[in-house]
């Protein structure tokens, strides 16, 4: 294009004036030669020729014609869409559903997987861990991090992150439990994060005995301290210790690792020079130097681990190696396959929508045949007609797309409420420019996809035939097969989507039927975090728990009270142990693994967990008495099959080295029924229970209170009862056990709901598709029906004829769909629970459902066909 289109009008005027002046000059010369005025004018004009034609051929020299044509096409397309409001509305709404669903899913996928992390040099930030970690995770221990310090020159910055658990803030209003994270001082430089206020940590604060400092998250600073800038330099009391506020982090700063969401307070880790703590409780992130590759770094970091494994063979395996994973990949790896499933599902949905709209366009093509023939007759080339039709469909797609975005925007809170909170980076899900751009491109693409086939088809028609054709009859044959195959593919795609949804629903229903092993009704839970300063010893903690339990139990409306270090269904720590003296094939040296729970005497009774053998804990199980443990059924059956475990002894922590080894073996005093510790989807794991009075560590505890009525009603009285015990301890994470169960199914519910919605929409659209095609073919066959009726066919026979047509379409689609589904649902294996991806019943039910709905959709056109009046039908064109 030689000039911008807004100058075209200018150019147009210029040409008009130029020709006008030509005519004027010619006329005035004639007048000078003596001709009279009107005749001179006319003669000049005659001599000039066809003014419009000259203008037109001149315009052709300008270039940029395609734009003019495009504007013309758009104007014309808009007029066509306006003139057929019903068609436009139906197509637009269908497209809005398809494109809106894609926008919603893309906004989630974009935030979780695609959008670059908001850090400087995000591509060089790596999670630094090791392979062969016993629990399979990526975490490392302090000794490893310290050993890496010598090799750290491959990094610009290498930092440690440690979950520091809930901390209690006092001295600023009511005591408050806050979420905190500890990071070594190089953490913020590694991420390139600049504070919103104040500064980040200085190296001095990361040394033992250095100044005690903390930083606040922006949200917490704003909500709890009213965004007070004078807070800088003031001291806050956390767990009874004083810390100076040195800075506030920028708004929206989030570290994309599990358990680091909505961190309110950041502490510096004061790194010791030496450590023998074997616990893998830290994560390491590093900013790799630009000239070092990850594998070079891995090669440099592996020798220190090997060295350590010789020193602490129980702590680190001999063959462990350092491993770098880009922070970006770390996030997407944790998101798993679910995003892929959703993307696939919405893509299918959009394909169904496209097939449907293409069918609508084909139906209209019949009506527009004359228009196309006339266009071709007055000289429009095939390319030009195709372009015109494509412009219309793209216009339609863009209309549908913008409606879809609008719907998506309006229902965004609902969509967000479905997204499981555990998903990393979920806080950044939003409809932003990249999402809108993707939607725009998708709309263009959809418009081209559903527009192309009808456009090619319509433009190929024989000119003569169309113009002379009086009857609409013959057109049905020419694209009947096309419309049918579009509907068949719609039904097939819908079947695949519905299969996916049905398998997930089946899994979800099975999950809901899973007995968690405890009674969650009328059960309130909350967390109590004990500052290590006042509650450093197990006795102090046991005393507090005992007092609190007594206080809570005495309240009206409460029935039982129990507590544990973690809640059921939330997972928790596991520890290695030996069986003292061994049993069966298990030698006393065999390292065994079991979940590890610290509980109060009331735990089993408050959760209604049956005791199978032996006894539960009581108040006398403390440090002075014999160390005891209770195990669950799975543990008893896996390690003492056919034997009575009561009285046997286990030594917890022994295989993990001296730092973990308990002072003495524990005697098993009871066996209880299994409960689901990690999730409803996972079978019960071997679990050992330890009484609080004998637990060496763990400052946090979750209370469970069984109430007589509504559990939330007792919260105020629980709070005041807690004030009588220790006014500085807040109740936090107050929720009901029912909600804990519900929340544990969050991501299952998310994908099941979305896929069910998509499947329902797909069924609906495919049904409309079948209805459209059958009802069109009935209107085409009115004459035939009339003849049949005249020859004596009964209405029922005609009804059956049409219904069979619909059923044939649906069956073909269903069979195609089953073949596709057999291949595709296999990919869902990891996302299902207790359901085979090729579950026969699910396939059968969905197939029958689809055929039945499709046949039902044909009922109305079929009834119309059966009531055809032979006399009317014969005259019908």
């Amino acid at each position: 294009m030689n000039f911008p289109f807004w100058r075209r009008r200018q150019k147009e005027d210029d040409l008009k004036n130029e020709i006008e002046s030509h005519l004027q000059m010619a006329a005035s010369e004639r007048e000078e030669r003596g001709e009279l005025n009107p005749e001179a004018q006319h003669a000049a004009r005659r001599e000039f020729g066809n003014v419009d034609l000259v203008r037109k051929v001149t315009r052709h020299q300008w270039g940029g014609l395609w734009l003019e044509h495009l504007l013309q096409d758009i104007r014309f397309g808009a007029r066509m869409l306006r003139r057929n409001p019903v068609f436009t509305l139906v197509a637009m709404m269908t497209l809005a559903l398809g494109i809106g669903a894609n926008t919603a899913v893309f906004s989630i996928v974009n935030a979780v997987l695609l959008r670059p992390l908001p850090f400087q040099h995000a591509d060089r930030i790596y999670q630094v861990g090791r392979t062969g970690n016993r629990i399979g995770g990526f975490s490392i221990s302090l000794p490893i991090f310290l050993a890496w310090q010598d090799k750290r020159k491959v990094f610009e910055h290498l930092a440690l992150i440690r979950w520091s658990g809930p901390e209690t803030l006092t001295g600023a209003g009511d005591p408050l439990q806050v979420r905190s994270l500890s990071v070594s001082t190089e953490f913020f430089p590694a991420l390139g994060v600049q504070p919103a206020l104040g500064r980040t940590f200085v190296p001095e604060e990361g040394k033992p005995g250095g100044a005690r400092a903390l930083m606040l998250g922006e949200g917490f600073w704003r909500s709890y301290f009213g965004g007070d800038p004078n807070l800088l330099g003031r001291t806050l009391t956390m767990d009874g210790e004083q810390f100076a506020v040195v800075g506030v982090l920028p708004r929206g700063f989030e570290l994309p690792i599990p358990g680091a969401r909505d961190v309110q307070v950041w502490f510096p880790i004061q790194l010791p020079t030496e450590s023998h703590n074997p616990s893998n409780e830290a994560l390491c992130v590093g900013l790799l130097r630009a000239d070092i590759t990850p594998s070079q770094a891995e090669a440099a970091l592996t020798p220190p681990i090997t060295e350590l494994s010789r020193q602490f063979p129980t702590m680190i395996g001999a063959n462990e190696q350092a491993r770098l994973v880009g922070l970006r990949n770390f996030v997407s790896r944790r998101a798993g396959r679910a995003p892929l499933l959703l993307v696939g599902a919405v893509a299918f949905l959009l394909l169904i929508v496209c097939a449907n709209v293409a069918n609508l366009l084909l139906a209209r093509a019949g009506v527009r045949k004359r228009e196309m023939a006339i266009r071709a007759a007055i000289g429009a080339g095939r390319g030009r007609i195709i372009r015109q039709l494509l412009t219309e469909s793209v216009l339609l797609a863009l209309l549908g797309g913008s409606t879809g975005v609008l719907v998506c925007y309006l229902s965004f809170d609902f969509i967000l409420s479905l997204v499981p909170a555990g998903l990393l980076r979920v806080g950044t899900v939003r409809i932003d420019i990249p999402v809108l751009a993707a939607t725009f491109l998708l709309s263009l693409l959809a418009g081209a996809v559903f527009g192309l086939v009808p456009a090619l088809h319509t433009s190929r028609q024989d000119l003569n035939l169309s113009l002379n054709e009086a009857s609409r009859q013959s057109s049905s044959a020419s694209h009947g097969w096309l419309r049918s195959s579009l509907v068949v593919s719609e039904v097939a795609l819908a079947l695949v989507l519905l299969m996916g949804a049905a398998l997930l629903i089946e899994s979800f229903a099975r999950l809901l039927r899973v007995q968690p092993g405890f009674d969650s009704s009328r059960l309130l839970t909350f967390q109590l975090a004990l500052p290590m300063k006042q509650y450093g010893s197990p006795d102090q903690r046991a005393l507090l728990f005992k007092q609190a339990t007594l206080g809570f139990s005495a309240l009206p409306g409460t029935e039982q009270v129990g507590l544990a270090n973690v809640l059921p269904l939330r997972g928790g720590p596991d520890l290695l142990f030996n069986i003292v003296a061994g049993t069966g094939s298990i030698s006393p040296d065999t390292a065994l693994d079991a979940e590890y729970r610290i509980i109060s005497p009331g735990y089993f009774s408050v959760l209604h967990i049956p005791v199978l053998r032996g006894r539960t804990f009581n108040e006398t199980d403390d440090h002075a008495s014999q160390a005891v443990a209770i195990i669950n059924r799975t543990m008893a059956e896996s390690f003492w099959p056919g034997l009575d475990p009561i009285g046997r002894r286990i030594w917890i922590g022994k295989p993990m080295g001296p730092a973990w080894t308990e002072p003495a073996p524990r005697e098993i005093v009871g066996v209880v029924e299994d409960i689901r510790e990690s999730s409803l989807a996972e079978p019960p794991e071997a679990t050992m229970y330890i009484p609080f009075g004998q637990a060496p560590h763990s400052g946090a505890a979750f209370f469970m209170v069984r109430t007589a009525g509504d559990p939330t009603a007792v919260v105020p009285s629980l709070r005041s009862a807690m004030k009588n015990v220790d006014a500085a301890l807040p109740l936090s994470s107050v929720t009901t056990m029912d909600e804990v169960v519900t929340a544990s199914l969050g991501d299952w519910r998310f994908r099941t709901t979305l896929l069910a919605i998509f499947g329902g929409v797909a069924l609906f659209i495919a049904t409309i598709g079948v209805y459209g095609v059958v009802s069109y073919s009935v209107s085409q066959r009115t004459q035939e029906m009339g003849i049949r009726a005249a020859l004596g066919a009964k209405p029922v026979a005609l009804l059956r004829l049409v219904l069979l047509d619909g059923a044939k379409l649906a069956l073909t689609g269903v069979l195609t769909g089953i073949l596709a589904a057999l291949g595709l649902t296999r990919l869902m294996t990891g996302l299902l629970f207790g359901t085979k991806p090729t579950d026969l019943w699910t396939f059968a039910v969905i197939a029958i459902l689809l055929v039945m709905v499709a046949v039902a959709a044909c009922y109305f056109p079929a009834r119309r066909a059966s009531r055809v009046d032979p006399v009317v039908a014969m005259r019908y064109e």
């Binding site: 210029d14 130029e18 002046s21 004027q24 000059m25 010619a26 066809n50 001149t58």
Partner: protein, 119 residues
């Protein structure tokens, strides 16, 4: 009508460009003036159809061989006046030499004897 057409000679493809460039060499001129000049200088033999003239002018303008400006004529009329650009002058030379080659070639065909004797 028929008589008039006999006096006219259809322009060869591409020669109109040459004629326009050549006409503009004498000085800036508007479209009407160019058509009148071609007609007068060819002794009324060549008449340029407006349907060819204006597309040609706009094509040459797009090639940047000529440029146009709005001016006011002696009759106090706003007219669009074209003038040659530097690029256009070079183009004129090229077109002229091509035309001369063509002329020689045609002349050679039309009077073969003269051509042979020369050789």
């Amino acid at each position: 009508m028929k008589v008039r057409y006999q006096n006219r000679i259809e322009l060869l493809q591409g020669t109109l460009d040459l004629l326009i460039l050549q006409t503009l060499q004498w000085g800036p001129q508007h479209g009407y003036g160019i058509s009148q000049a071609i007609r007068a200088n060819s002794g009324e033999v060549l008449r340029v159809d407006t349907g060819s003239l204006y597309p040609a002018l706009h094509r040459l303008e797009r090639q940047k061989w000529i440029e146009a400006e709005w001016e006011v004529s002696e009759n106090r009329q706003r007219v669009r006046v074209y003038h040659l650009t530097g690029k256009g002058k070079k183009q004129l030379l090229t077109e002229r030499s091509r035309w001369e080659q063509l002329q020689d070639a045609i002349a050679g065909i039309l009077s073969p004897a003269k051509g042979e004797s020369k050789a």
